[in-house]
């Protein structure tokens, strides 16, 4: 039951991310990646494998929606963003929220950097621009801000069950 509820929330987060209804009008539109925040909460509560698995699923479903050569890059990005940042947790665990903020930031940054790196290696982009960098950092920052709230919500849901 808890798994279904978590999966439903995860799917809703993905749809909200793709709908871009919570865009802020800065640098051509920035927004928190809610699916990444949920992946971080799974990684914090259940470990790197669980985070990586959910990230893999999220990235793959975004990739299948786009149906482009980016499908693989999105899957790799999702997997890395769910599994790698949680390994930094012992380094940034001063308070519970500090680790969640740092992990949220690192997760989205890693997600975007992976997609960019794969696209750059494949020669698909016209080159890196500062505006793209600002957008990546802003998305990561916004996700970092919502990450403690998402983690708190998910852990409360787990405790109730």
């Amino acid at each position: 039951m808890i798994f279904l509820a978590q999966a439903g929330l995860f799917a809703l987060a993905l749809i909200i991310d793709a709908s871009r209804i919570i865009d802020l009008p800065v640098f051509g539109g920035v927004h928190p990646l809610l699916f990444s925040a949920i992946v971080v909460s799974f990684a914090v509560s259940s470990g790197a494998f669980t985070g990586g698995l959910w990230g893999f699923i999220g990235g793959l479903s975004l990739g299948l929606l786009a149906g482009t050569p980016q499908a693989g890059a999105l899957t790799l990005g999702g997997f890395l963003s769910g599994s790698v940042p949680v390994l930094l947790r012992p380094l940034v665990f001063w308070r519970k929220w500090t680790s969640q903020v740092v992990l949220g930031f690192a997760s989205v940054l890693l997600f975007n950097i992976t997609i960019y790196a794969v696209s750059a290696i494949r020669g698909e982009t016209n080159g890196f621009t500062w505006i793209a960098g600002f957008r990546m950092a802003s998305d990561a920052l916004l996700t970092a801000l919502v990450c403690p709230l998402v983690c708190a919500g998910m852990s409360r849901m787990e405790r109730r069950h």
Partner: protein, 288 residues
């Protein structure tokens, strides 16, 4: 009974270092997932073909979810506009306020209908200028990543939308279709870092390559002697069979010189954040 101290028991240190089965399974799972994800990134064509059987189902879920969110968002915006409208009108005249209080919702809805009518009339005007077959589509989503700028449209293969077809709005060129599902399509905005199209300066007919930079565009591969000025309008060149010739792309806002090469920063004519409906142009097909 004498019991040796725990630290002297042989093999204890070795037992402490032993990895638990769960950790080993997790590590193995991580490794497999990592290799799988890396392989998928390296061979995207294989990835898409392997997952093509479930793409339809995933696409249906996406399309339904995004349409639902779009509907809720539209209703919310309607509510906000209704609130704005009644607040603005309340400031004007007390007499009108009384009337609008009773029919405020109706007035706001009518205003929304008028706005939609204006947008659709502009689209219709554009449609009449294009001799190719066109499909009108509504935007229901976008790219969640910060790097790319794509739009998700509510029309797909069943409506005649195909990969590579150009997308335009009443304000000018928008982009081209990147991928197509049965009832949805993904369009790449001209300012996406992967986008490159041929374009020319309307005043002097100087030709260049319009490349997306993320939040804007640049007209590249101009030479130092080319006559390009700030304020010049940039139009699609019609070469490469993506866009029909002469669709407005944007206006030059800045010129950048780097040795012999010159590039022009172009502000797109289309504000993609405010875009709601677009036309997908099927080049070579007769007008429907």
């Amino acid at each position: 009974m004498f019991e040796p101290p725990k630290k002297l028991v042989p093999g204890r240190r070795k037992a402490r270092r032993r990895v638990s089965p769960r950790t080993a399974w997790n590590a193995a799972g991580l490794l497999i997932l990592g290799v799988l994800a890396a392989g998928m990134a390296a061979f995207p064509g294989v990835t898409l073909s392997v997952f093509s059987p479930i793409r339809g189902v995933v696409g249906f879920v996406w399309r339904t979810g995004l349409s639902g969110v779009d509907a809720v968002h539209g209703a919310g915006q309607g509510g906000i506009r209704m609130l704005e409208s009644s607040t603005r009108l309340a400031r004007e005249k007390a007499e009108l306020q009384k009337k609008l209080d009773t029919a405020g919702g109706e007035g706001a809805m009518r205003e929304e209908e008028i706005r939609e009518l204006v947008r659709l009339r502009r689209l219709l005007n554009l449609r009449e200028t294009i001799s190719d077959r066109v499909v009108t589509a509504r935007i229901i989503g976008g790219d969640p990543s910060a790097l790319f700028s794509t739009l998700i449209l509510d029309r797909g293969g069943e409506d005649g939308v195909r990969e590579g077809q150009p997308v335009a709005s009443s304000a000018g060129a928008v982009g081209r279709i990147l991928s197509v599902g049965p009832d949805y399509a993904v369009a790449m905005w001209l300012c996406d870092p992967r986008s490159r199209i041929a374009a020319y300066v309307q005043r002097t007919r100087v030709l260049g390559v319009l490349s997306g930079t993320g939040a804007g565009c640049e007209l590249r591969y101009l030479s130092a002697g080319d006559d390009v000025q700030v304020g010049d309008r940039i139009l699609t060149a019609g070469r490469g069979s993506i866009f029909p010739k002469g669709i407005l792309v944007g206006t030059v806002t800045e010129l950048r010189k780097d040795g012999l090469s010159v590039s022009a920063v172009v502000a797109p004519s289309v504000n993609v954040r405010k875009l709601e409906e677009v036309l997908v142009i099927s080049r070579g097909s007769p007008l429907r």
